[in-house]
């Protein structure tokens, strides 16, 4: 919400929006209480997390494979963890307060090396 909103005389007729998909700039990641953490070593690339993610927050590389999680938009609902079919699960939920200040690599090591 950092950019300036339009003035009344700049608004297009019919409240049209010229820039489709501009809600991307609004980050909903701050809503999150818990965050999913991904373990690429056990991931079987089934993409179920991608197809069930309500917030399009599963990052996809150029081959259509999962490559991480978009923490700017992930609301932390946990559907991806619930639906992950690999054994052991390749995704797990962690409290945001527990991961504060740690890098993604550190968190991964802590959770999945046990």
């Amino acid at each position: 919400m950092s950019e300036k909103l339009l003035d009344w005389n700049e608004v297009l007729i019919g409240a049209a929006i010229k820039d489709p998909g501009n809600s991307k700039s609004y980050e909903t990641g701050s809503w999150r209480v818990e965050r999913p953490v991904w373990n690429p070593d056990t991931c079987i690339q089934c993409m179920f997390c991608w197809v069930y993610c309500p917030d399009s927050s599963i990052l996809v590389d150029k081959d259509g494979k999962m490559s991480g999680i978009d923490y700017d938009h992930c609301k932390g609902c946990g559907i991806c963890v619930e639906q992950c079919p690999s054994k052991p699960k390749s995704l797990t939920m962690l409290l945001e307060s527990e991961v504060k200040g740690k890098s993604e690599e550190e968190i991964r090591k802590e959770v999945f090396s046990k």
Binding site: S23, Q45, Y52, P54, G64, K65, C77, G78, E82
Partner: protein, 313 residues
């Protein structure tokens, strides 16, 4: 149907940054619908009725729709999209465009079963080419869980509350599929986001029909139904496995059941995790669950018989 990896590479029709609740399946359904559309062959133009989905994806000056999208009012998603479609036909005739465009209207149960029914009925009767997707969340969830005609029997809502004399909604859910069958459309289907492949196949099939089509999709609502956010897809799967939400299609009047659960679960399994049905499990209310089961069984057997008969029009 392409593999998920193939679909994941495509441009997303609905992007993130929308303000739906965490764990809301509205966007799951719409992402699956738009991923299924063969956007190499044709473009999609969508219209939405007022509802949870519209207010959270079209919050001015933002839009989560990465495509052409129009919103008009609560009751007229179907007539809005038919107007757009009529204009497209004229443009094509006059040579103003040579694009292949397909149309999708999205609404929730309030905008379909109740308020939008006459606009939908009219648009279907006029025979416009559009796919109508109803995300059925069983009540007016946008304004805080008021009863609609899609609310199932026994559900506790703010306008059909559980008390000492009455126990949730007294009437059964409206069978919208049968209502729409009366329009003799070419393709009507019921689907669930938990069975994504089935839903995507149906969308693909529906978009290729040159005329009105309808898909009814269950949309578990974490706040209104009262279950933890991560269980949304699980609840949809339970609805399918208990036959509360049968997955089937009606192709020119002929019923085809796409998924028959190997062992049909009792409705308790579906009702138990949801807070809106908590009062049914109190002592003395057993007859309500029996009644619920009876309604579900009756509808399921009726469908099985219709499939067996195989009669179309």
């Amino acid at each position: 149907m392409a593999l998920l990896n193939e679909l994941a590479k495509k441009k997303e029709g609905l992007v993130n940054g929308h303000r739906l609740c965490p764990g809301c399946t509205h966007s799951v359904i719409m992402r699956q619908v738009l991923a299924a559309a063969d956007t190499d062959k044709y473009e999609i133009v969508a219209a939405a009725a007022t509802g949870c989905f519209e207010v959270s994806t079209g919050l001015y000056p933002y839009t989560s729709w990465n495509m052409s999208w129009i919103h008009n009012a609560f009751e007229n998603a179907a007539s809005t999209i038919s107007g757009v479609e009529a204009m497209y036909k004229v443009w094509k005739k006059k040579g103003k465009t040579n694009k292949d465009i397909r149309f999708i209207a999205v609404a929730s149960d309030g905008g379909t079963y109740d308020i939008g029914l006459q606009a939908l009925s009219g648009a279907i009767e006029r025979g416009h080419q559009f796919l109508y997707v109803c995300n059925d969340n069983n009540a007016y969830q946008n304004t805080g869980n008021q009863r609609s005609s899609a609310t199932p029997f026994g559900a506790n809502t703010t306008t059909s509350p559980n008390g000492t004399i009455k126990h949730g909604k007294e009437q059964p859910k409206k069978d919208i599929m049968s209502v729409l069958e009366g329009h003799h459309m070419q393709y009507i289907a019921q689907a669930s986001p938990s069975n994504w492949r089935d839903l995507m196949d149906k969308v693909k099939k529906a978009l290729d029909v040159n005329g009105p089509t309808y898909i009814n999709v269950i949309e578990p609502c974490t706040t209104g139904w009262g279950f933890p956010a991560q269980d949304a897809i699980k609840i949809a799967q339970l609805a399918v496995d208990t036959c509360v939400w049968p997955i089937y299609e009606v192709v020119e009047g002929k019923v085809i059941i796409n998924y028959k659960p190997k062992n049909k679960l009792p409705v308790e399994d579906y009702l138990k995790p949801q807070k809106r049905f908590a009062h049914l499990f109190k002592k003395g209310n057993e007859h309500l669950i029996e009644e619920y089961q009876k309604q579900v069984d009756r509808h399921w057997e009726w469908l099985l018989k219709r499939e067996e008969a195989g009669i179309g029009y």
